[in-house]
């Protein structure tokens, strides 16, 4: 049985000063009218705001200076990220490039790719999304059908991707493509490419979500030519490259803070002398969040130390899912009903409504609970 380990993280000196800096920035910009708080972090991309964040040096924070990064620790990045999330700032546009695409290029990209893409990402000037899922493959990546055929100087790609968040506002998509057979094993034969979303043959169609919002897209790739230098990593290594990012993807503060603003709104609605039902609910949620943040920070520290706490990350993700879903379900039951004000949007009701509608998407991010629990069970030695 693999014991789960959550080493105490050590925040670097200056982390708290950095936190203050982020808070000041957010307050100043909000005062200027640059942004206003939104609900869930996965929606409301704002490329102009992302550029501002880049100018502060808060995109690609941990990357080498030579590629536009700032060589800060993963824990400093953690502090910035949680402050941005909790404030409800519109950071969706650069989110994927900062968390996944940039680190991928840094890890397995060519020198030319690093020089071409990383500094622009860090400045908040180019944005990435991920072309992974397909109509017939959700969590099951080996069933991917989008096909890449080797041609002179590059590849020709044909296929269909779905659920590509924010493709309509992004410049590139890291796209998973079948380039070879499933040999020597079933995970072989997949490759990752940097797909220019303006390339000929790329069509992006909106997929509206149940609330009628447009975050997802369908990407149709019709014989799109990608030059050899758009291949990321080794051909056939796609599956390995995708799965090795998972501890990062599954343990960040976004895994339990996406309904934080509803919790804050509930505290507000309860007033300074809340009834016992509101007090019990908020106290319990704070305790859960406190523990989740402790786990998540610990994982950030271990990742910074070069470890790969995959089991621990799966725990954070699965617990975080349940936590984020529980907040709107409990808040609606305990919130004292307030006299509606004609013509005015009640802040609690607005955030509550958004959280309920958004709840089903929580488990869609970063692996279904079946997969997460399977990982943990294997870690416990179940065969």
């Amino acid at each position: 049985m693999t014991a789960l380990r959550f080493d105490p993280p050590t925040l670097p000196p200056g982390a708290e000063a950095l936190r203050e800096e982020v808070r000041r920035f957010l307050a100043d910009e909000r005062a200027k009218g640059t942004w206003s708080p939104r609900g869930d972090f996965g929606t409301h991309p704002d490329t102009a705001f992302s550029r501002l964040v880049g100018q502060q040096g808060w995109i690609g924070m941990t990357w080498p200076r030579q590629y536009g990064g700032h060589e800060r620790s993963g824990l400093e990045r953690y502090v910035v990220t949680e402050e941005l999330l909790v404030s409800g700032a519109p950071i969706t546009a650069h989110w994927i490039a900062d968390r996944q695409s940039g680190p991928l290029i840094l890890r397995v990209g060519t020198e030319a790719q690093k020089q071409r893409f990383l500094p622009a990402i860090a400045r908040g000037e180019i944005f990435f999304c991920i072309g992974m899922s397909e109509p017939d493959s959700g969590s099951d990546l080996v069933s991917i059908r989008t096909k890449g055929t080797k041609v002179e100087g590059g590849w020709r790609i044909t296929g269909r991707k779905v659920w590509t968040s924010n493709a309509h506002i992004c410049d590139y998509a890291i796209t998973l493509v079948r380039t070879g057979p499933q040999e020597p094993d079933r995970h072989s034969g997949l490759s990752q490419f940097i797909l220019d979303l303006k390339a000929p043959g790329v069509e992006i169609r909106p997929i509206r979500n149940l609330a009628g919002h447009h975050d997802f897209n369908e990407m149709i790739l019709d014989d799109v030519f990608l030059a050899d230098d758009m291949l990321v990593g080794q051909p056939g290594d796609g599956w390995k490259q995708v799965t090795s990012e998972l501890a990062f993807e599954r343990s960040g503060p976004e895994r339990f803070l996406s309904t934080y603003r509803l919790l804050a709104a509930l505290v507000d609605r309860g007033g300074t002398a809340p009834d016992d039902r509101v007090a019990e609910a908020t106290g319990r949620f704070v305790a859960h969040m406190w523990a989740l943040r402790g786990m998540s920070l610990s994982i950030a520290g271990m990742l910074q130390a070069g470890e790969t706490p995959n089991l621990e990350a799966a725990c954070v993700k699965d617990l975080g899912n349940a936590f984020e879903r529980a907040i709107p379900e409990t808040a609606r039951l305990v919130a004292p009903s307030a006299m509606p004000v004609a013509g005015a949007n009640d802040p609690f009701e607005t955030i509550q409504a958004e959280a309920v509608l958004n709840a089903p998407s929580i488990t869609l991010r970063g692996g279904t609970r079946e997969i997460l629990r399977g990982i943990i069970a294997r870690g416990l030695g179940l065969r």
């Binding site: 007090a279 908020t282 704070v286 305790a287 402790g294 943990i376 069970a377 416990l380 179940l382």
Partner: protein
């Protein structure tokens, strides 16, 4: 340092505590030899080191929880700490500690302590009862107190102690009653963490070994899910308990201990439920060791405040801090 303490305690308890000892203690015996070993190893002095004391004590408690040690380890640790802080002599042997319950009542006036404490651990076996009353730390001779028997769900002695008379020793209290209650809640969080860790190991091993319908039950997705959920609860508890340990003497002790007791208490109930669900009838028998752990989990989650008590109190503090102050509070702590 604390890792070493944990290893020492864990080894001692693993070797000494078996099913037979647990059953005999529950039937009324006191495990003298084990107590002697605990004293000789210096485990009861775990709080002594000014730098690592809290972490060391946490390590002892977690190890005690892992093995369901049937001794007043938490009570003695906390009572010794209180005596030491008050500058009083520390009697040898197991110590009892009061109050533990919000319903406990006492008064100390004119050199005389009058009080009733409803759930004192191991009072009748203690060499001294250490009580906090009216701003004083008081040492009482158990022989001069009226002690009515009582046990928690795990069969651990929780006795009703009535005192009316002069204490053996007295000193100004160095801490408030809230602090004592907080330390008690913290001790139960660590004990629960330890017991949950063993519970998880026992259930996972069983799921691999037990064959039904021709294959180990651990191959069933629903059993795997229950064990995964249990592991998640243990993981969250471990972190919450560590955060409380790091802050036990700090400014944000209330926040950290409240979160630990709430989180570990909730986890304890779930872990016990999942474990019994996985283990079926065998886990429900007296013969199996599982219940020595799960009955402790069910008891400890109630002691020094239920999850709901701490949640309401924490929620009230959150309300005073306000929606805008909440995040700064959590990140400062």
């Amino acid at each position: 340092m604390s890792d070493l303490v944990f290893d020492t305690a864990d080894r001692l308890f693993r070797d000494a505590v078996d099913k037979d000892l647990l059953d005999r203690t529950e039937a009324g015996a006191f495990p003298e030899a084990l107590w002697q070993a605990v004293e000789e190893t210096g485990l009861v002095e775990a709080f002594a080191d000014p730098d690592t004391g809290v972490a060391d004590a946490a390590a002892v408690l977690r190890a005690a929880g892992r093995h369901a040690v049937p001794l007043p380890i938490a009570e003695t640790l906390l009572a010794r700490r209180l005596l030491q802080r008050a500058g009083l002599d520390i009697p040898a042997g197991p110590l009892a500690l009061a109050p533990t319950d919000v319903n406990d009542r006492s008064a100390f006036a004119g050199g005389r302590l009058m009080g009733t404490f409803y759930s004192v651990g191991w009072a009748s076996r203690a060499t001294a009862i250490v009580a906090l009353a009216d701003g004083h730390v008081l040492v009482v001779d158990p022989a001069r107190a009226r002690i009515e028997p009582g046990r928690n769900l795990a069969g651990e002695p929780r006795e009703i102690v009535t005192i009316d008379g002069p204490p053996l020793a007295a000193a100004r209290a160095p801490i408030m009653p809230e602090t004592l209650r907080r330390e008690g809640a913290w001790s139960r969080s660590l004990l629960m963490l330890g017991a949950m860790e063993t519970t998880l190991e026992v259930a996972a091993t069983y799921a691999n070994d037990r064959v039904q319908f021709g294959r180990p039950i651990g191959k069933q997705q629903s059993i795997q899910h229950q064990l995964a959920l249990m592991a998640e609860e243990v993981a969250a508890s471990a972190v919450a308990a560590r955060l409380a340990t790091e802050r036990l003497d700090g400014d944000e002790a209330f926040l950290a201990v409240a979160c630990a007791k709430i989180r570990c208490g909730e986890a304890a109930g779930k872990a016990a439920e999942y474990a019994h669900q996985v283990m079926g009838a065998i886990g429900f028998t007296h013969e199996h060791t599982l219940h020595h752990l799960t009955r402790r989990l069910w008891s400890w989650r109630d002691e020094y405040g239920r999850e709901s008590d701490w949640s309401i109190e924490l929620g009230q503090r959150v309300a005073l801090v306000g929606a805008n102050g909440l995040w700064p509070w959590l990140t400062r702590a």
